[in-house]
Symmetry: C2
Subunit: 263 residues, 2 copies
Amino acid sequence: MQETSSMQSELPVVRADREGKERRTDWTAREYPLTIMLNNEQLVTLLCSPADLKALAVGFLVSEGLLSSREELSEVQVDDERGIVRITTKVRKELDRELFLKRVLTTGCGKGISFYSFADLESPVKVTSNISLAPGEILDLSRRFQGHSEIYRSTHGVHSAALCSREDILVFAEDIGRHNAIVKIFGRCLMEDIPVADGILITSGRISSEILFKVAKRNIPVIISKSAPTDMGVQLAGTFGITLIGFVRGGRMNIYAGEERVT
Amino acid sequence: MQETSSMQSELPVVRADREGKERRTDWTAREYPLTIMLNNEQLVTLLCSPADLKALAVGFLVSEGLLSSREELSEVQVDDERGIVRITTKVRKELDRELFLKRVLTTGCGKGISFYSFADLESPVKVTSNISLAPGEILDLSRRFQGHSEIYRSTHGVHSAALCSREDILVFAEDIGRHNAIVKIFGRCLMEDIPVADGILITSGRISSEILFKVAKRNIPVIISKSAPTDMGVQLAGTFGITLIGFVRGGRMNIYAGEERVT
């Protein structure tokens, strides 16, 4: 029903366990910034999977109350090289930008991105740290982290995050939002004078570009998840010099970036 | 490490399978709107789990570059009855509201909510539909939906959504964002003249308040997920007259609201 192949990227990974490392490739979900231009004005940039872009752009207008029938559409053009969908409508509804932006905040999960963050990429600051970890230490930390995540197991609706040293969990937090759980860690660390930089962050959630921007700003050199990263998450980890370890489960893990810190 | 009990609500549910129905209770993750007031100005309202609210508010400021050390904080007051954290800082950084709102769009998952949506609740429009379904039909639709979600199984990073009749899947979409997958359905339906109202929506993701607002506006009477709803999702389903079915797995399901449509 759609071009599913475009929704994944094949990336080189290092598969590691307590015994050693092995090079292979793995499939990762693509994360793609799509800008919607409505009647020649930039409306919003969404982070999405690059399939059904026309449906996403039109559906976004429907969902935001900016379009109510097919008759109102005059043209929908997809420029998938540049990541832009241009929509022109017969009736131009007046848009209150602040109200609109506030409203878009309701759309949650991977639903928006600002050029502001991407502007940081013009001269990215590298995370600097001499920390290194053995695969066994990563597996031990992940096991402890799982043990802490009681709520997640009972309702399957809550994410967790932890800041760790090589040996133990220093701060642990849970939230229905995977970003909130990480933000709670930052808040606790500031209030309790626990240094964040040079720490290891574990999250229960997917590692997307938005997480990498957050983590890079706090100079955190290692991020670990039992879930998968997106391709853009992996790319940004490389840009920022962050070690990204995903799919930590069954005694194994995939190192997607910054392999040099895993000894 | 935190008051985990406050993160869940015990709700009445109807457990159903092909044989019949049974009343019981189940634990559901709480979803709580927290407004951050910075130096007496309303900054943002986050949807979160109601634990570690101080850490969430402080961490949000840290993450947004509005706070960099504990010394800058003069006061943090939590009013958990009204869902407000008031923070005063020694230095008042100038805030460009539009840039800030755009920036907050990067924070994804359950990270923001507008009063705009909640304003709709003052005179909520009820979803009207005479559709009814047997538990067996719900299980059959869910099985077909799982079969469509190939990508999800291979990368564990993609959500899916489908609009269904009682008999079959009409439109199917996938995306890294659970909201995007649903929005793609709305877009396809508008472009292909497929009526959305009176349909059944299946999603792979958690059913939160934000999803309910979207679905209610399209007059969709039934929403189904293999995942859990939040307590606020359940409450809004009641308000909008939507049948909410969660935890569809292992031949069983929980009906959280609108039981009368399940025969």
